[in-house]
């Protein structure tokens, strides 16, 4: 078959009246659509605006909006506003936090617990990530990682409940200890900071494991071999090479876990006791009672968010300084 340009020009005329067009052909030659498309693509600027307006409005109103509204409510004396009542601007909600030491314990407890639990999570998951990234063949790696992911698909409440069963007075741990005759009466693990820690570490381990794993995986093996070649022992190699090179993963993992830990509500309620009340419970209290305490709750939430942000920012600063110090 030869290529005949003149024959095609005749056919071009037939195409004009084609009635069996495909969907896309019909759409693109449909007059209203053409008009719209021409309008929308008239200039790169207009095209960009059409694409950008909705996302920008969305993030402003839906992502930033709730936080700003919470901040606004925290600075008023009444919310929701009852009819006939005037709303006033006030700092009282913030002052009530600083004025009453009853709130300080749960506040500092939350931050300290979150810090301690974050550290525990780091210590527990680092060797696991290290093992996966450095000692497992790439083929098996995904399988072993997937094995760890499965429990993390299960929800917060279900996993918290599982810890309750594990640590209860008639739970598995006590049963095993008693079976071996190590104890006569059950150890009361539950409703302590210990049970809370076990639960929170359980819930957050994955968020630490994944950043650690990816930073360890990026680390070239040859670097350790070079250090060994220069006579560095295993501990020196870890301290001088592996640890500094994975500070980035440690930093992002810890930030994430810390922020998540400060925000738990159900887990402390279920696993903790009266001596372990966290600030999340305090905040929630203002929203449960019938009284008009939302502004105070909002102010407390703002205080906690700012405190958590300040701590993570300081932590990241420290990590960056450490990283820079090592490259010098």
């Amino acid at each position: 078959m030869t290529y005949d340009a003149s024959a095609r020009e005749e056919r071009g005329a037939v195409a004009e009246s084609a009635s069996d067009r495909t969907f896309w052909g019909r759409l693109s030659s449909w007059a209203p659509y053409q008009w719209l498309a021409t309008f929308a693509t008239a200039s790169p600027r207009r095209q960009f605006l059409i694409l950008a307006v909705f996302p920008i409005l969305w993030v402003l109103t839906q992502h930033l909006g709730p936080m700003l509204q919470m901040l606004r409510v925290s600075l008023t004396d009444a919310y929701p506003v009852a009819p006939g009542v005037e709303q006033h601007f006030t700092f009282d909600n913030y002052l009530s936090f600083f004025g009453d030491s009853i709130f300080w314990m749960p506040f500092f407890r939350t931050l300290i617990f979150a810090g301690v639990f974050t550290f525990c999570t780091l210590i527990i998951t680092y060797p696991v990530a290290y093992f996966l990234a450095r000692h497992v063949s790439p083929k098996n790696r995904m399988l072993l990682l997937l094995l760890l992911l499965i429990p993390f698909w299960v929800g917060e409440i279900v996993r918290t409940y599982a810890i309750m069963i594990l640590l209860g007075n008639t739970g598995a741990v006590n049963m095993v200890l008693r079976f071996f005759g190590l104890i006569d009466r059950p150890i009361p693990f539950m409703y302590t900071s210990f049970s809370m820690g076990v639960g929170i570490v359980y819930l957050t381990a994955l968020y630490m494991l994944l950043p650690l794993y990816s930073s360890l995986e990026k680390l070239p093996k040859s670097m350790n071999e070079a250090a060994a070649d220069l006579g560095a022992g295993a501990w020196t190699r870890f301290r001088r090479i592996t640890l500094p090179m994975t500070l980035e993963g440690i930093s992002s993992g810890c930030t994430l876990v810390f922020l998540i830990s400060t925000g738990f509500y159900a887990t402390p309620v279920l696993l903790g006791g009266p001596s372990t009340t966290v600030f999340a419970e305090t905040i929630a209290g203002f929203f449960h009672v019938a009284g008009d305490q939302w502004p105070t709750g909002a102010a407390f939430a703002v205080i906690m968010f700012l405190a958590a942000l300040a701590i993570t920012a300081a932590f990241q600063r420290l990590m960056t300084a450490l990283r820079k110090g090592d490259t010098k």
Binding site: M1, T2, Y3, A5, R8, R11, G12, V14, A15, E16, A18, S19, D20, R21, T22, W24, G25, R26, S28, S29, T41
Partner: protein, 360 residues
């Protein structure tokens, strides 16, 4: 149709920030031409192609297609199609669907599309692969599908962005022939962009050599090869001997130069340089002839063979010309010629038309 050229670029300039990618380019392309834009990366050849395709808008200047100003028209509204460097075949569509994509959007009917798909696939010997996906094809086949997809909507101008770069050397030679023959048979205008001078010489009707955003020279492959206008063209296309000397003056069409005391006569395709300046001339390696006696050619010097390299089809000789301050020349001769390395002097001669005095 009027007497308008198919494509006309009028003073097209493109700036990216502070860098000028294209500097006031003015150029006409006639219907049915195979034009190649040749140059190193960053010379502005790809920018020209993307402006023609509608992917970039010139900072100033106009682009006319058959007399219509299409400068601001988006790619989908131009009767111009492109073969991409990486082919850009749609991975989730079969060969047939890839070819049909442009036809559908032209508003053709299904039976019409099927006919055209069959036609173009048989033309490019793709009929057997219609139901395959791009991932199931070889590099050469993919290249043909990209060509078929771009030719199917019957564009006025076909743009080709280094489409042979991804092929291996052996296949490339074959595809060059194919492309040239397809261009002849379809009588389409091809706008080809490459950095490979050999590719450009093999296929083109016309080559535009670009450097730093402007045109160095615009001509047929023969013109560019034997009559380079500038040092850049002489060096970029093929191998050459560059002779640096001083301009003496002109005698009719001939340009006379002094080369370390030897008077040489050449021609100046790029225009005669200012008198008294240091100038450069180019003589292609295969244009040097060897003689036992002083030859009657316009230029003749005596030299010695100081080295030779066997290249298969021919032999490369290294020559030293003592009477020109020990300057060296290179020459290609038949592989079985008896020139041997040694002390014996030999006459080297070349014509006035073989030596191009360069601009710059």
């Amino acid at each position: 149709m009027s007497s308008d050229p198919l494509v006309r670029l009028e003073g097209v300039t493109k700036r990216f920030g502070d860098t000028v990618a294209l500097d006031n380019l003015t150029l006409d392309i006639a219907q049915g031409e195979f034009v190649t834009f040749l140059g190193p990366s960053g010379c502005g050849k790809s920018t020209t192609l993307r402006i023609l395709g509608g992917f970039e808008q010139p900072t100033s200047g106009r682009v006319l297609l058959r007399g219509d100003d299409v400068t601001k028209r988006p790619p989908e509204k131009r009767n111009v199609n492109m073969v991409f460097q990486d082919y850009a075949l749609f991975p989730h569509m079969t060969v047939r669907q890839n070819i049909g994509f442009g036809l559908e959007l032209k508003g053709m009917g299904k039976s019409e599309i099927a006919k055209r798909q069959d036609e173009i696939m048989s033309f490019l010997e793709l009929t057997a692969y219609g139901d395959r996906y791009p991932a199931q094809l070889s590099g050469g086949q993919r290249q043909r599908v990209a060509l078929a997809r771009a030719l199917a909507p019957d564009p006025a101008l076909l743009l080709l962005d280094e489409p042979l770069g991804a092929l291996d050397a052996k296949l490339r030679g074959q595809v060059q022939q194919e492309l040239k023959s397809i261009q002849r048979r379809t009588n389409k205008t091809f706008f080809f962009v490459t950095h490979d001078q050999e590719e450009a010489l093999t296929m083109s009707d016309r080559i535009v050599v670009m450097n730093k955003g402007h045109v160095e020279q615009d001509g047929t492959p023969e013109e560019l090869y034997f009559h380079p206008a500038s040092r850049f063209v002489a060096e970029f296309i093929g191998e050459t001997n560059l002779l640096t000397g001083e301009l003496r003056g002109t005698e009719g069409n001939a340009v006379v130069m002094d080369w370390f005391g030897n008077t040489l006569r050449g021609h100046a395709p790029g225009g005669v340089p200012q008198a008294g300046e240091a100038i450069t001339a180019s003589v292609r390696l295969e244009r040097l002839g060897f003689h036992a006696e002083r030859p009657t050619t316009a230029n003749a010097v005596q030299g010695r063979v100081v080295g030779k390299t066997f290249l298969g089809s021919r032999m490369a000789l290294d020559l030293m010309v003592e009477e020109a301050n020990g300057a060296t020349l290179k020459a290609y001769v038949d592989a079985d010629t008896g020139q041997s390395v040694g002390e014996a002097p030999v006459w080297i001669g070349w014509d006035e038309s073989s030596m191009a005095v360069l601009r710059d």
